[in-house]
């Protein structure tokens, strides 16, 4: 366990971030906080990719400035994923605003009751 923390610390952080994200998605009743939880989960996965690209002593992948370099491919994938993640957040928050306009609440449990009464 200590060995894991010393040599694979970033991956341990990834696991913990995924755990916090899952907790927020399940347990936070407020819809806005659920969206925050989704973002935390997402950045956990980003950390996994960027850590996989990292090599000790290597510089950023600017070719021609003397190697070694870290791997550019995971960086590209994560750049795309960040932008897609923001689009996802924007649509989710638009739905949250619309739900509030229709039902007057953002609490998951209250929302369930209101919908059951209809």
């Amino acid at each position: 366990m200590i060995d894991l923390l010393l040599t694979r610390y970033n991956y341990v952080a990834v696991v913990l971030l995924l755990g916090v994200g899952t907790y927020m998605l399940i347990e936070n009743a407020n819809l806005v906080k659920k969206v925050i939880g989704m973002n935390v989960f997402q950045t956990g996965i980003f950390l996994f990719f960027i850590t996989a690209a990292y090599a000790e002593g290597a510089g950023p992948p600017l070719v021609g400035h003397g190697g070694p370099y870290v791997s550019p491919l995971p960086h590209v994938l994560i750049l795309t994923a960040i932008v897609v993640g923001v689009s996802l957040t924007a649509v989710a928050l638009a739905l949250v605003v619309r739900i509030y306009a229709e039902y007057g609440t953002l609490d998951e449990d209250v929302l369930r009751e209101v919908r059951a009464d209809e």
Binding site: L17, N28, V32, T43, E56, P60, I78
Partner: protein
């Protein structure tokens, strides 16, 4: 490689602000904790030699996302009440804990952080991009070369996703009524 003190401090800060965002009852406080979290993550990207990702995260993750959350708060409510923290739900702790425990069992099978012979960093694909990106595209930044040249269609798909998100936001918000 073992973690330096700085990196360990950033990781602790990031994890701490994630937990703070999860537990604060006030949604505005939660959003502020999340903005701090994004900033910590951006610093971590710089530390992991990913300056392009760090810039995007700082501008888009910490900037645009926070603004979107704040705009949502303006149009909806902050839950009232005098409690500072939410009650910890054991159902969620159990589920998230079990999930993390299962994931943790795979960590020891991963290569060490910063291992230059790991499949990703020492692999064929990485070496191809690093050796040929400048020759074939004349772009010094290999990330830009892969993003715009080798995986250009991927980036086009990304633009389509952003467009679709914009359109669906207009549809959901019935433009003119809320915006």
């Amino acid at each position: 490689m073992t973690a330096t003190l700085l990196e360990a401090a950033i990781l602790v800060f990031v994890l701490g602000s994630a937990v703070t965002a999860a537990l604060l009852r006030d949604v505005l406080g939660s959003i502020i904790a999340f903005a701090g979290y994004s900033l910590g993550i951006a610093i971590l990207w710089v530390y992991l030699q990913a300056p392009d990702v760090a810039l995007t995260e700082a501008a888009v993750g910490a900037g645009v996302t926070t603004v979107l959350f704040l705009l949502t708060i303006v149009r909806t409510v902050r839950p009232s009440g005098d409690r500072l923290l939410e009650r910890v739900g054991w159902r969620g702790v159990l589920a998230a804990g079990a999930f993390s425990a299962v994931m943790l069992t795979t960590v020891s099978a991963l290569p060490e952080v910063g291992d230059p012979t790991a499949p990703v960093t020492g692999g064929e694909v990485t070496q191809y991009y690093l050796e040929n990106a400048y020759k074939e595209t004349e772009v010094e930044n290999a990330v830009t070369a892969v993003l715009a040249a080798y995986r250009g269609f991927d980036t086009l798909g990304e633009a389509v996703v952003v467009f679709a998100a914009g359109v669906s936001m207009l549809v959901v918000l019935r433009r003119g009524e809320f915006v």
